[in-house]
């Protein structure tokens, strides 16, 4: 069973207390953007086999969105962090690189 730590509450909870929200750090494209950008923003997903950054909501807790770094090939969780950021924190990236030396990094 997947357990994640809510970065706001500080509690570690299991997935029935959480709502998954898909890929994190999507760059939003709205009206006036090109068809390519809008289509990629709306639909194209990385869906990687390996390190993945994703959104979760502490639905049955504080109700806030947060972000998590997780390995989709092993279900290992590298860490969670607040959602008010456009890219993963440097210390988390360093931690993932230590555990996954062949990982090409966040892009």
């Amino acid at each position: 069973m997947l357990t994640l730590q809510c970065p706001y509450c500080g509690v570690t909870v299991e997935e029935t207390e959480l709502a998954p929200g898909g890929e994190a750090h999507l760059k939003r494209f709205g009206p006036g953007s090109s068809d390519d950008d809008f289509e990629a923003y709306m639909f194209a997903r990385k869906n990687p086999k390996g390190v993945h950054f994703e959104r979760w909501r502490h639905a049955y807790g504080c109700g806030k969105w947060f972000l998590a770094a997780r390995c989709t090939a092993t279900l290992e969780v590298f860490g969670t962090y607040p959602a008010q950021t456009t890219e993963p924190p440097a210390d988390l990236i360093a931690k993932i690189k230590e555990k996954r030396p062949t990982w090409e990094g966040y892009k």
Partner: protein, 415 residues
């Protein structure tokens, strides 16, 4: 290849079964093929089979990283139906159902197709309206389905508790031509047919890279070396995004775990397939007597073929209320597969940004029933370079153009 028949059984019985040959060859890869199909599951093998049978293209390799039929083809709940709301869906799933009906004769391989009838229970007011709408749509599409009242449901499935306080049965959508088939046999039968046409099925051979030149595919790198190809068909379900990444494009797909489980074998108790979409559960009885139960997908990306426990618990809990007699059964096995989910819950059979690469994916939670139709449509796309009438609406461009084939609302979750 020797044909399977009653006479073959008698002949082999007379000589201690020493004369059975292997159903398919296991050759080493050649240097080049006209078409490489990646993925020897049902869809990939069916694609190869109809490429040879309908379009006369037999210089084909089907390459598979694991073993043949070992992915979702061997992990599903074997349900076959075509009662979809949207016209393009009904067309391709009904094509598949029609091909299933005489697949055993066509392949000379018993796929144990069993059109035992399929019920989708309405357990809420919304479902009553939704399924009646589907029945009307199906009648316009030429797909025979009908709405039945609770008394007839009880008559068809005596073990069903139709007056449960929490999940009452208010009626059902019945497709009498729906049913099940033996999932492994579908893969094995197609594999035997492909091998018989001279195609190479190469197992234990993982694709590690896709080679392109000038926006056009020229071959793949594999764990058994580089293989050149004229055209590449990517038919790998849960790993579609991984292959697309190798080829340099992204797909509107998220891979998630979907689980199924079976009970200990019991005497015949239920001779139709029952789907209860309100509670994300569906159940049928296998020929071995096990009750085969499927649930809903997890909500997060996952490649591990292991799902979350609470889905098993939730589905079983709801089915126990609907079928009280199963409450004391032991569950024997539980497993997961990785399904490729699109936003509109409809598949993708399409050209891609790379010339001569084609994808057949996005079948999500309901691919098994579509295997023959999917292979038929994909073979036509690969052979001609343009989609035929069955695949035309399932292109990748539908996302850009907003032409969704929205089965996520129409069918609920369980496909």
């Amino acid at each position: 290849m020797r044909r399977y028949s009653m006479f073959a059984v008698a002949r082999e019985a007379a000589r201690f079964h020493a004369g059975w040959e292997r159903a398919w060859r296991s050759p080493e890869p050649k240097k080049r093929y006209d078409v490489i199909v990646v993925g020897a599951g049902g869809h990939g093998l069916a694609t190869a089979y109809y490429l040879g049978k309908v379009h006369g293209i037999t210089n084909v390799a089907v390459i598979e990283k694991g073993w043949l039929g070992g992915g979702n083809t061997g992990r599903n709940t074997t349900i076959i139906r075509s009662n979809y709301l949207q016209d393009p869906s009904a067309a391709i799933y009904d094509k598949a159902l029609k091909l299933y009906e005489d697949l055993s004769q066509d392949l000379n391989y018993n796929v144990m197709f069993s059109p035992r009838g399929l019920l989708m229970l309405a357990q809420s007011e919304h479902e009553i309206r939704g399924y009646k709408r589907t029945v009307y749509a199906n009648n316009l599409q030429g797909v025979e389905t009908r709405w039945i009242e609770p008394a007839e449901v009880k008559d068809l499935v005596p073990i069903l508790n139709i007056e449960g306080p929490r999940y009452p049965v208010l009626g059902a959508l019945l497709q009498e031509r729906g049913g099940t088939a033996r999932h492994d046999a579908v893969a094995w039968g197609y594999a035997r047919g492909c091998s018989n046409m001279g195609m190479d099925i190469i197992q234990q051979c993982e694709v590690t890279g896709v080679r392109t030149e000038g926006g056009k595919v020229v071959g793949v790198d594999t764990t058994k070396g580089a293989i050149d190809c004229g055209k590449l068909a990517i038919v790998v379900a849960g790993h579609s995004s991984v292959l697309a990444e190798m080829a340099g494009f992204r797909l509107p797909i998220e891979s998630m775990a979907l689980q199924a489980w079976v009970s200990e074998p019991i005497k015949p108790t239920i001779d139709v397939v029952v789907m209860a979409n309100l509670v994300h559960g569906y159940m049928s009885q296998s020929d071995k007597g096990e009750l085969v139960i499927g649930g809903g997908t997890d909500g997060f990306n996952n490649y591990t073929q292991r799902g979350s426990w609470h889905h098993v618990e939730e589905t079983t809990r709801a089915l126990v209320e609907t079928f009280p007699i199963i409450s004391r059964l032991k569950m024997l096995r539980q497993w997961g597969g990785i399904v490729d989910m699109t936003g509109d819950r409809s598949p993708i059979i399409s050209k891609t940004p790379v010339e001569n690469i084609f994808v057949d994916c996005g079948w999500g939670t309901g691919g098994f029933k579509a295997i023959p139709g999917s292979g038929w449509a994909m073979a036509e796309l690969v052979a001609k370079g343009e989609p035929g009438p069955l695949a035309a609406d399932f292109g990748l461009n539908r996302f850009r153009e907003g032409r969704f084939i929205d089965e996520s609302v129409a069918a609920g979750v369980a496909h």
